[in-house]
């Protein structure tokens, strides 16, 4: 799978990760995949709600070393 863009939100807390994600997704085309790296536990519950609302697809969510969560989102 080709990742179109990586958004580094490590160290950021609510609301910055979701604000940055919303802005970044606006600049992508349909079918593009955004990789989001974050450390805020809140994003884990905010992101599925946001994807459900916007119609974008949460492809995967995995915990990496160092408290980082990697999320892949496909633009609708």
């Amino acid at each position: 799978m080709e990742i179109t863009m990586t958004l580094d939100c490590k160290g950021l807390s609510c609301p910055m990760p979701m604000m940055k994600l919303s802005k970044a997704m606006k600049g992508l085309n349909s079918g593009d995949v955004l990789e989001m790296l974050g450390t805020d536990p809140g994003t884990k519950s905010d992101l599925p709600h946001w994807c459900e609302k916007t119609g974008n697809e949460l492809l995967s969510q995995e915990d990496l070393e160092g408290g980082v969560t990697r999320m892949l989102i496909k633009k609708k």
């Binding site: 950021l12 807390s13 609510c14 609301p15 919303s22 606006k26 609302k53």
Partner: protein, 403 residues
């Protein structure tokens, strides 16, 4: 046949609570219920008074501002309640292996500190924060609390516009070097769970230590811990309730807060109407509990300043406390800004504002005095219903969402 990896019934129960986040509405209902219990025992939930107590103790210990008659935090109900919210959140974060010390980029740290300072000014001028003057004030049928709520909304709109401008013009403010320490992702993290159990035992011992001398404190310790734990697990945060519908359009944070307010509305109205737990004070004193002398201008000014502060900080009074417990350093700075500024604001800013405002801009307004208990209950319930309809409608249409 059950899968061997599923573990015992108790392990499954533990995973139910700490395996993933709870829906916010579940958190809202439970904290709303605990708030009613707190009122039945003594008085409703509040946060800014407790944080102010911490600040006064610090200034008192270094001999600044002549604060000689400050109650030590271990004897101050609300000072301890706030402390236990941090402890409860710490326990929740440890059990779910979500604790980590998260150091954000410098710009975020500045915003955290500044947001805390603004929240302190808003809370002292407006007599209360998102908990005392909103989450408890609205169910307490206080007219000032409703004005404070509108003030919060205006403050959130102003600060959200600032954040979006900042993200557009100065993106480096919220990017740069960040650090995460003591995390326990993946299969690691048994240590966090062990520390969590040690904390639980510590809270139990602390609660028990008050049983002989100050039984009310025993319950404040237990309920404070539960407030922190539940808020951390459900991400219960009042700034989220006001901000997210206007930002991404999501409604679940607002629905959680509305659910908690509705539970509080039923419980508080019953306690006030029947004078439950009057305890020697007059029925009128019980009715006027959490009805502050801030209607209308004082509540409006305080609400706007608090709304700006909490949006910049990324955590309201309770949101700041439970995020401190899960290791968000930005919110540690908000807490420090809040506790240091609150006593200063009380001494120097509040008297100035009070001097400017005539009595008819800062009086106690108890709604049942004007429209009766039935009318007041219906009015608050109608506002909550409208808020619910608005966030759900806006979630579908995106009419008032920035993104």
């Amino acid at each position: 046949m059950s899968d061997k990896n599923e573990g015992s019934v108790l392990t499954q129960l533990f995973k139910t609570f700490f395996g993933k986040h709870w829906p916010v509405w579940v958190g809202g209902i439970v904290v709303g219920f605990l708030n009613v219990l707190l009122f039945a025992i003594k008085s409703p939930w509040g946060a800014s008074g407790g944080i102010n107590n911490w600040g006064e103790n610090i200034f008192s210990s270094i001999g600044v501002f002549n604060l000689e008659h400050v109650t030590p935090t271990n004897l101050n109900l609300y000072g301890m309640l706030c402390l236990m919210i941090i402890a409860g959140s710490f326990i929740g974060a440890l059990f779910s292996k979500e604790f980590a010390l998260r150091i954000p980029p410098k710009g975020e740290m500045i915003k955290g500190l500044l947001g805390g300072v603004l929240m302190a000014i808003g809370a002292t001028v407006g007599i209360g924060c998102t908990i005392g003057a909103f989450f408890s004030g609205v169910p307490a049928l206080s007219g000032g609390a409703i004005i404070f709520t509108f003030g919060l909304m205006i403050g959130v709109i102003i600060a959200l516009r600032y954040l979006m401008w900042e993200m557009e013009k100065f993106p480096k403010w919220s990017s740069g070097k960040s650090y995460t320490w003591f995390s326990a992702s993946g299969k690691k993290g048994r240590g966090q769970i062990i520390i969590g159990w040690i904390m639980v035992i510590g809270v139990g011992v602390l609660a028990y230590s008050y049983t002989g001398s100050l039984q009310t404190m025993t319950w404040f310790v237990i309920i404070g811990t539960l407030f922190g734990l539940i808020s951390q697990r459900s991400r219960f945060c009042i700034v989220k309730a006001f901000r997210d519908p206007l930002m991404t359009g999501e409604s679940h944070g607002a629905v959680g807060v509305i659910a908690g307010l509705l539970v509080g509305l039923f419980g508080f109205t019953i306690i006030k109407y029947f004078g439950i737990s009057v305890d020697g004070s007059s029925l009128r004193a019980r009715e006027m509990t959490w009805v502050f002398s801030h209607f209308w201008a004082k509540a409006a000014i305080g609400g706007v300043i608090f709304g700006v502060g909490m949006t910049i900080a990324g955590g309201c009074a309770v949101g700041t406390l439970w995020r401190i417990g899960e290791g968000q350093f930005k919110l540690w700075l908000s807490g420090i800004g809040f506790l240091l500024m609150a006593p200063i604001s009380k001494l120097f800013i509040v008297p100035f504002v009070d001097g400017l405002l005539p009595h008819n801009m800062k009086f106690k307004s108890f709604l049942p005095d004007y429209i009766g208990y039935g009318g007041s209950f219906a009015l608050v319930a109608a506002i909550l219903l409208f808020w619910y309809w608005f966030v759900k409608w806006n979630e579908k249409t995106g009419k008032f969402s920035a993104f």
